[in-house]
């Protein structure tokens, strides 16, 4: 028992070291393009795993992460931008005080963004969890729209449809991957605790969960708030990576993309969400090849803009046809599993 735990911790530590080494290498020896995709990958991991907590683990079909991201992104950006920058950006209407005078460092801004998003989630949880299933999806969708419309029209806070520009590019590999790893650790710890079990119970059978003494509303709300916290952070990181945000960025399409990540990866599995996020971030870039002109032998294929979307959709269809429950299903990666497989292979080799 003790030894196993030591091995597990060691394996975690070593893999963290490998990731750290890889990022350090990528940071100095690859192009800004690759670094950008790596950053996006990390942010997608934060967003998809935290989304999975509500949709996959607790089984509540929320369609609201775009709202959470928007709240997080706007909050964090408004806090980090310097007063001079704000004055330059807000050309239609001046920004309301005291927002115009505040300027905070990156980390506190992100944390405040997470907390503000959580408070938002807490408030909307009351109407949202009065309903279930499809209705819940529609209610959360509604709140997503409300936030988008608010961001478009509350010009003195959000600068309206012009969005915020000149946000400092604070997000780098260390910030994004640091948060991604922290998020994954927190969420896995949570899912494997009594809290996670209560959430899964709600997913499996809400009536039975209540009969087990689980206050289902409280746990749904809890999942929602934790999820919102990380989505707010993810939104903040994204804003400080792209340096400009506007309401269109946080349309329903973003939620839809996250949904693809968690469903294709495996609803309910954190491993699946991570894989989904990686595939989504890199798939889109690698598929650019299909949009370029190619000379294959005598055949010349002209550039077809939009071709990668077709291929990507086809890939999704194939994934869903052959892996009904996503790539991993509800399977979760664990060191025990990895060591078992590794151990078996060694034994096998010995016999031969």
């Amino acid at each position: 028992m003790k030894r196993d735990k030591l091995i597990r911790n060691l394996a975690t530590f070593l893999s963290l070291l490998v990731i750290f080494g890889f990022l350090k290498w990528a940071n100095s020896y690859t192009s800004p393009y690759i670094i950008q995709i790596l950053n996006i990958t990390a942010i997608y991991i934060i967003l998809s795993t935290s989304y999975n907590l509500v949709n996959g683990v607790t089984g509540q079909f929320s369609l609201g992460p775009n709202a959470f991201m928007a709240v997080g992104a706007y909050t964090a950006s408004l806090l980090t931008m310097s007063p001079a920058e704000k004055e330059l950006t807000f050309i239609i209407q001046p920004i309301i005080s005291p927002l115009g005078k505040i300027s905070l460092p990156f980390l506190p801004s992100l944390l405040i963004a997470g907390v503000v998003t959580s408070i938002f989630a807490f408030l909307i949880a009351f109407p949202v969890f009065r309903v279930r299933g499809d209705y819940l999806a529609i209610v959360t969708l509604g709140f997503g729209e409300i936030i988008r419309v608010f961001a478009t029209n509350a010009v003195s806070i959000t600068n309206g449809s012009l969005g915020l520009k000149g946000i400092n590019q604070y997000t780098n590999l260390w910030w994004s991957w640091g948060w991604a790893i922290f998020t994954v650790f927190c969420l896995i710890g949570l899912v494997e605790s009594s809290y996670g079990r209560a959430m899964k119970a709600i997913r499996e059978d809400e009536t039975a969960a209540q009969a087990m003494g689980i206050n289902t509303f409280r746990y749904k709300m809890f999942a929602f708030i934790i999820s919102a916290f990380f989505q707010g952070i993810g939104g903040g990181l994204l804003a400080h990576l792209l340096t400009t945000i506007d309401p269109k960025l946080f349309s329903f399409l973003f939620t839809f993309n996250l949904l693809i990540m968690i469903v294709a990866g495996g609803l309910g599995s954190m491993t699946g969400s991570i894989i989904g996020a990686i595939i989504f971030a890199w798939g889109f870039e690698l598929l650019r090849w299909f949009e370029e002109p190619h000379q294959i032998g005598d055949m010349f294929i002209p550039a077809i803009p939009g071709m990668r979307m077709v291929i990507f959709s086809l890939l999704l269809i194939i994934i869903m046809l052959f892996f009904r429950r996503g790539i991993t299903g509800r399977w979760e990666f664990s060191w025990d599993w990895a060591l078992n497989r590794f151990g078996r292979r060694i034994k096998f080799r010995d016999i031969n």
């Binding site: 996670g196 009536t207 809890f222």
Partner: protein
């Protein structure tokens, strides 16, 4: 005489339909009470009201002297009422042990930031929950299926797992809704012994709905008979067996009662 469960004037209406009309019932601590009646008599409705899934239109339910008629289901469970379901409601996609571990939810409700940050002490609690769940599975004869998916168990074992899970909540009153349904005679015999053991060893009070008259007559101390939402008889198995109204209500099933 003190009663662990005291139901007074309990009425449940679904629009025009009166599912329960003015039911009075008292259950002594440490007894096994049978609740029988033809289909649609309102037996499961009684369970749903006691466990808080349906709010009564009228009447009171006091459990251990505390009024529970309008409490939420999870609250009632925390006071010590556990139940099983007629149409099995296991956490199908989770393993057998996880199902029981969820039952221990009430006794190990750690603060959320502990698992969130993976602090020390948390694994210790996890191990303790695991061991207690294992012990319970051992007692209910499910230890061989510990890591199986709950939905993959055979029917009889699923029923037993539901009881194990209900026991994990630490009840004083256990409501069993047709636990013997779908079991073969040997399984039924085992179940009866098991229920009696629960009463004797854990001092549980058990209220059970059952269609198998052999089971009911054998293990119940007292029986309450419902028909069309009304109590038509109450008494010892012997009294019920010879009650004219009960025989009428069960017309066509008379022979079952006599055998």
């Amino acid at each position: 005489m003190s009663h662990i469960l005291k139901i007074q004037d309990l009425t449940v209406r679904f629009h025009a339909l009166e599912a329960l009309s003015s039911l009075d019932m008292e259950v002594e601590p440490g007894s096994i009470r049978g609740l029988i009646g033809p289909n649609g008599a309102g037996k499961t409705t009684v369970f749903n009201v006691i466990s808080g899934f349906i709010r009564p239109s009228k009447g009171t339910i006091s459990f251990n002297g505390k009024e529970i008629a309008n409490l939420k289901p999870y609250k009632i469970t925390s006071l010590g009422v556990a139940r099983t379901f007629q149409n099995i409601k296991l956490f199908g996609d989770l393993s057998v042990i996880e199902n029981v571990m969820i039952g221990f939810h009430l006794s190990y409700n750690t603060l959320f930031w502990k698992p969130l940050l993976g602090l020390i002490g948390f694994t210790k609690i996890e191990n303790e929950v695991y061991e207690r769940a294992r012990w319970l599975l051992d007692r209910t004869g499910l230890l061989n299926f510990i890591d199986e998916k709950a939905s993959s168990l055979p029917y009889g074992l699923q029923r037993r797992l539901e009881i194990a899970r209900a026991l994990a909540t630490g009840p004083k009153l256990l409501l069993l809704d047709e636990s013997a349904a779908g079991m073969n005679p040997t399984e039924k015999e085992d179940l009866m012994k098991f229920i009696e053991k629960l009463r004797d060893k854990l001092a549980l009070t058990i209220l059970l709905i059952e269609h198998d008259m052999h089971v009911v007559m054998e293990i119940c101390d007292r029986i309450t008979v419902l028909d069309y939402g009304e109590k038509i008889a109450e008494g010892s198995p012997k009294e019920i067996r010879n009650n004219q109204r009960v025989i009428e209500a069960y017309l066509g099933e008379t022979r079952v009662i006599e055998s």
